[in-house]
């Protein structure tokens, strides 16, 4: 990786590349976005189809709580994956289980879990900030390019590849179950098992995105790309392609902006997504595809 960073720095120094790409942390951020875009873009397409946008927001809040639990239990601040993944997975499975076994509507149930996990996270945050500088914790909550390491990139590529492979195998079953669960059952799909697997994949995708996007903003990348893509495409293939492309464009824009301006990368990426969504709305109307 060092040779790549040195090569990019040289190209930036001689003026062949933008000045920002001369910094290793910016290159690392762009590489992370290049891996995240197909993972979260592909995931977002199914998150929107399964009406899990609010669920994803609750998982983002759970990531904050998981982060504080991990730090509280002694995880290093630069690699809080155990706490985040463990608590998010626990929350996701609990939400799915209670929804399947109670008469409550999904949004009510998610609202209850979201409130609980946020309350728990805030209480634990007080304990954690006695041991860490609040600015260090903020970097994980809102995303920071400076905290991304080569090890994070390797983990991202490994887990992201795994999530993509699993999605590839399960895509047709998940899509059919999202559209009409009774048709999926007739086709032999085990709906309950599929739902648990899907939320586990979503949790993994959220956990590995944490360093770049931040715990509180990560749900934007699993909802907005597909929402914008729906304005531009009318086939499953088109929505997937646009979701991945828009996730990459917004992510890369956010990374570059956060390297020029003193703003967190997560916030810049989410602002980029907002711009992309607004543009897609206008483009969709012009194309008459709404």
């Amino acid at each position: 990786m060092d040779r790549l960073y040195a090569f990019m720095a040289h190209q930036a120094a001689v003026g062949h590349l933008p000045h920002a790409l001369g910094y290793a942390f910016v290159v690392r951020g762009l590489l992370a976005v290049a891996v995240l875009a197909p993972v979260l873009g592909g995931m977002s397409h199914l998150v929107v189809a399964r009406r899990l946008a609010f669920f994803s927001a609750a998982l983002g809040q759970a990531a904050l709580t998981g982060l504080t639990i991990g730090l509280w239990l002694g995880e290093p601040l630069d690699a809080p994956y155990g706490g985040v993944f463990g608590f998010c997975l626990l929350s996701a499975f609990a939400m799915v289980y209670v929804r399947r076994h109670s008469g409550l509507s999904p949004d009510t149930l998610v609202g209850v879990f979201l409130s609980f996990t946020l309350g728990l996270g805030l209480c634990l945050l007080v304990a954690v900030t006695k041991r860490f500088n609040i600015h260090q914790v903020q970097a994980v909550m809102f995303g920071s390019l400076l905290t991304v390491t080569d090890t994070d990139l390797a983990l991202l590529a490994l887990l992201g590849g795994g999530v993509l492979a699993a999605l590839g195998v399960l895509y047709n079953r998940i899509a059919l179950d999202s559209l009409d669960p009774s048709l999926a059952r007739a086709a032999g799909v085990r709906s309950a098992a599929l739902e648990y697997v899907f939320v586990a994949l979503l949790t993994a995708a959220i956990a590995v995105s944490l360093k770049i996007i931040g715990a509180l903003l990560v749900e934007a990348l699993v909802v907005v790309p597909a929402a914008a893509a729906r304005n531009l495409a009318h086939t499953a293939r088109g929505v997937l392609a646009w979701s991945v492309l828009l996730a990459f464009v917004a992510g890369a824009l956010g990374i570059l902006v956060s390297s020029w301006l003193p703003v967190p990368s997560g916030g810049a990426v989410v602002l980029g997504l907002g711009v992309v969504f607004a543009l897609s709305l206008g483009a969709g109307r012009m194309l008459g595809w709404d």
Binding site: G42, H45, V48, A49, R50, R51, L167, G168, Y171, N172, R173, A175, L176, S178, L179, D180, P181, S182, L183, R185, A186, A187, G188, S191, R230, A233, H234, T235, A236, R237, G238, V239, L240
Partner: protein
């Protein structure tokens, strides 16, 4: 004493649930002989109220069994039992030949088509190829889809958006999905409510084709004439709180 009775009742309920789960796990068996579908004393309760009570029926290969009854009598719930979507007591057994497609299902209407933008070909490809449909529909799948659509009078509809189809066209797409390839059991839940006379005639002919190929058909319908024309046997379901279902033919 009261506490003891409550515990005993709880244990009895637990025991019944375990037995029920064991039966549900064994719902699909390899075909030997006899009926494709056999339901015995199926009862469904929701919040303590019986939605279905003691329904027993059998559907043999090549026959059509009709479910009739007023709205709310539990016809769709019974389809949920067969599909494994509804908890029940009693037993439900589906026997299919090894490697054969088990169930084709035509619901009253397709689910929320706004959730996922799909073309007709993409929808049908979801059950016909392993390659993710979001990466494209394979050429071999396209020919299968074209053949299925032609059988229901929708030739050339593969590229159309599902959400832009009329109710009747969507219902015919569901038919195409259910009958090709031929299933061992075809479930039809009021499958012609949105169709014109010509389409009904075409699909009734398709039912006869599927039966001739050896499929068992379970159909819910409000159309008494159609039931008289097509059914080999009929189960009449009463209003939810009425007595057990009766087999009338």
């Amino acid at each position: 004493m009261k506490a003891c009775r409550t515990i005993a009742a709880g244990l009895a309920l637990r025991s019944r649930n375990l037995a029920q789960r064991a039966r549900q796990r064994a719902i699909v068996r390899q075909m030997s002989s006899g009926p494709v579908l056999a339901l015995r004393d199926v009862t469904v309760r929701r919040r303590g109220v019986a939605v279905l009570r003691d329904v027993s029926l059998e559907v043999a290969p090549g026959t059509l069994h009709a479910l009739v009854g007023p709205n709310g009598s539990g016809k769709s719930t019974l389809f949920g039992v067969v599909l494994g979507a509804v908890d029940f007591t009693g037993s439900a057994e589906l026997r299919v030949a090894s490697g054969a497609r088990a169930v084709g299902y035509v619901p009253q209407a397709l689910g929320d088509v706004e959730k996922l933008p799909l073309t007709v070909a993409e929808l049908l490809a979801l059950q016909r190829q392993r390659w993710p449909v979001c990466l494209g529909v394979r050429a071999s799948t396209r020919s299968q889809v074209a053949r299925a659509l032609e059988r229901v009078g929708l030739a050339g509809f593969g590229g159309r958006r599902i959400d832009r189809l009329s109710g009747g066209e969507r219902q015919r797409v569901l038919w195409a999905n259910a009958i090709d390839p031929a299933p061992a059991l075809l479930l039809l839940d009021e499958p012609m409510t949105a169709l014109d006379a010509a389409s009904r005639a075409r699909l009734e002919a398709l039912i006869q084709e599927v039966r001739a190929a050896g499929a068992a058909v379970l159909m819910a319908s409000h159309d008494a004439e159609q039931v008289a024309r097509l059914a080999d046997s009929v189960t009449r379901l009463g209003p939810s709180l009425a007595g057990p279902a009766s087999e009338v033919a």
